[in-house]
């Protein structure tokens, strides 16, 4: 990766443009599929992320939606440098993370944090909540004094709406919602600027989900956080995001302001997705047209040629089978990867 020539940013940005807080340029993550146990040879690639570009402004929440296997989690993992991207650039606060070595990444890791989906598997069952929250501070050396660290843990717990005495408990003594609050407290422990929420509320019951969504919104306002909110639940994404990106099979198909995506969806996939979400109101549901999209998501190992959505698309024409649609701007700030709209 590091051998790639530096991208001339001035040619891409309009003169005088401030570089965004987070920017992903043409990100590709292809996982090799190997055969053989001793002499492994690569027989194919899973194109989990295939040429994705977007930016997030400081203080903004970008929602990233798509169905399982579309690559949304992989994007998050690439930004966190848990995967090294096959191609592309990941700019964070003026630095391309793909070019940094482990040592240089240290301070970045402090600023970029993650909240995972499953509050049951993302907390170490053998650690007390308190030591779990202290560990990042100790590792990054931000609070050296043990007593001060303990005080900070209590503060973090109360910020996240938990009783400070939970510091002495183990994860199994807590409910799912409480554990997710611990996950959030852990992400906050390093005073991050950017948090990737990967399905952060998906595993929670609705009444608890609303509590955690409100908490995330409060924290964003209080600490001027920037979120990449990855989720499959469109109602939740719409609620929390300023802008929304829709992903299908490793590519972005639509990106626009939150209201625009939901009120004026352009891409046939976005439309189908919105149509499939039931609204909790029987009167509204009776009047809605329940046209469901046929077929299933193809394998990312062997994605369809041309536009990846064409086999399931109602608008598809011959050219969709051969040429990849450009991710073009149809109105200011609204990008769509479709030629037929």
């Amino acid at each position: 990766m590091s051998a790639a020539p530096a991208l001339d940013r001035s040619a891409l940005d309009p003169p005088g443009a401030v570089s965004p807080f987070v920017e992903i340029r043409n990100l590709k993550m292809h996982f090799p599929v190997t055969q053989g146990t001793v002499y492994q040879k690569t027989v194919a690639h899973v194109k989990a992320v295939d040429g994705v570009s977007f930016h997030i402004a400081k203080g903004e929440t970008l929602g990233l939606v798509g169905e399982s296997g579309c690559g949304k989690t992989t994007i998050g993992r690439c930004i966190l440098q848990l995967e090294s991207a096959s191609e592309g650039e990941i700019w964070f606060d003026g630095e391309d993370l793909t070019r940094l070595n482990q040592k240089e990444l240290g301070p970045v890791r402090q600023k970029v944090q993650v909240i995972f989906q499953d509050p049951y598997s993302s907390l170490n069952p053998r650690m007390k909540i308190g030591s779990m929250l202290q560990e990042p501070m100790r590792v990054h050396g931000i609070i050296k004094d043990r007593e001060k660290r303990r005080a900070r843990v209590r503060e973090l717990l109360s910020i996240c709406g938990l009783d400070p005495k939970f510091a002495d408990r183990y994860p199994h003594e807590m409910s799912g919602g409480q554990r997710q609050r611990v996950g959030i407290a852990r992400a906050l422990s390093l005073n991050p600027e950017f948090i990737i929420c990967d399905e952060a509320v998906s595993a929670l019951d609705v009444s608890i989900q609303a509590q955690v969504i409100n908490l995330l919104e409060d924290l964003r306002a209080e600490f001027n956080l920037t979120y990449l909110f990855i989720a499959h639940d469109l109602s939740v994404v719409r609620h929390i995001s300023n802008r929304v990106a829709v992903m299908y099979l490793g590519k972005l198909v639509e990106l626009a302001d939150g209201d625009e995506v939901f009120d004026n969806p352009k891409h046939p996939y976005t439309r189908a997705l919105l149509n499939a979400v039931p609204i909790p109101d029987p009167t509204v549901e009776k009047e809605r047209d329940h046209k469901v999209i046929t077929g299933e998501v193809p394998s990312p190992m062997n994605p369809p040629s041309g536009c990846v959505f064409h086999p399931r698309c109602t608008l598809a024409v011959d050219s969709c089978r051969t040429s990849v649609p450009e991710f073009r701007e149809v109105s200011p700030g609204h990008r769509v990867a479709c030629t037929e709209i």
Binding site: E67, S68, S175, G176, G177, Q178, D205, V206, S207, I208, Q209, A210, Q211, I213, N214, E217, H232, L234, S235, V236, R238, H239, G258, D259, F262, A272, L273, L274, N275, A276, V277, P278, I279, P280, D281, P282, T283, V284, E285, H290, V292, I293, T294, E296, V297
Partner: protein, 331 residues
């Protein structure tokens, strides 16, 4: 329409080292022929346990049905012999589970799993069962059914497996299907496909359906009647219109307010229900929802409210259900 299933005062408990869990605590509801009834509630409220109790699938130890009756077509399922209940399972009442990955046997072909059921319950010959299996797979929208019959569950995607589960559930033309979170593990577009399929097939074949779910949207789209459960009890029952537009229990009210809705303006703050669901081993003599309830009064701590009529076939269990409309307006 006549009553197909009549559950009265069902009590199912789990005897654990931490104490007796009153998972289902005096639940009563009916299902009429051909209708779709939803049971809604959050994890641990007892909705799955009540479904499993209908087919007597509660593992002992630690679980046991300790009281009540379940009449299915006039027969009390809690009193029939083990042989008889086995004949009813799959034949008269079948189930679709949440996780299509684990509810099919991974080492048997799809074909074998389908034909086994047909041969066992309907006594079809191997050839006839094979033909019927192909017919069933076609009915649930699986392409190339002959080839699929020779495949194993791991060859199929999650959506396809759930279609196979539905084919299995329909295979013996049951009177009632119990679907426990049938689409929770699936993506939204696949969820929509599966729900449409279930709706169409149950209407077409006149099968009654109990859908257990936590998704209020799914309920609004498909259910005729809605039963809301909390902490092992039914707290409100009515038709979909009543439950969604005129809820009488503060919990139902709270549930509806806590989901973000796509058809409403963005930027409104969600109104969550504060606190956590109660520990089912430590319930007291008061209303179980009281600690989380915005409208709780002293009486709620002393007596458990019973289901009372609040409208036409609409019941709710709250001491303040007659004031709830005013309270709702005021807050």
């Amino acid at each position: 329409m006549s009553k197909l299933l009549e559950i009265k005062n069902l009590k199912t408990q789990f005897f654990t080292s931490a104490g007796t869990v009153q998972a289902v605590d005096g639940v009563s509801f009916d299902v009429e022929e051909g209708e779709t009834v939803a049971v809604v509630g959050e994890s641990g409220c007892g909705k799955s346990v009540s479904a499993l109790s209908i087919l007597r699938l509660i593992p002992w130890p630690p679980g046991k049905i300790v009281g009540g009756s379940i009449h299915f077509m006039g027969e009390n399922l809690l009193e029939v012999s083990d042989d008889e209940i086995r004949k009813i399972r799959g034949r008269q009442i079948s189930m679709v589970f949440q996780e299509p990955m684990t509810s099919l046997n991974p080492v048997l072909t799809i074909g074998l799993q389908l034909t086994e059921t047909l041969q066992h319950h309907l006594g079809l010959s191997a050839d006839k069962a094979q033909d019927r299996a192909i017919e069933l797979l076609t009915m649930v929208g699986i392409s190339e059914p002959e080839r699929r019959l020779r495949q194993f569950p791991h060859h199929l995607s999650g959506g396809m497996r759930q279609r196979v589960m539905i084919a299995l559930a329909l295979s013996c033309e049951p009177k009632l299907i119990i679907a426990d979170e049938p689409t929770t593990a699936l993506d939204v577009t696949i969820q929509a496909q599966i729900l449409e399929l279930m709706k169409n097939l149950t209407r077409q074949l006149g099968v009654a359906l109990i859908v257990i779910t936590h998704n209020l949207g799914v309920v609004a789209r498909y259910a005729d009647r809605v039963n809301v459960m909390y902490a092992g009890k039914m707290i409100e029952m009515g038709n979909a219109q009543q439950i969604y537009h005129d809820p009488h229990h503060p919990y139902t009210l709270g549930l509806l307010a806590s989901v973000p809705r796509m058809d409403q303006p963005r930027g409104n703050r969600l109104v969550p229900i504060d606190g956590q669901p109660p520990d089912l081993t430590r319930l007291d003599q008061g209303c179980a929802f009281r600690p989380r309830c915005r409208f709780a009064i002293d009486r709620c701590a002393e007596e458990i409210p019973l289901l009372e009529n609040v409208g036409d076939a609409h019941v709710a269990a709250c001491w303040r259900q007659n004031e709830i409309r005013d309270l709702r307006m005021a807050s």
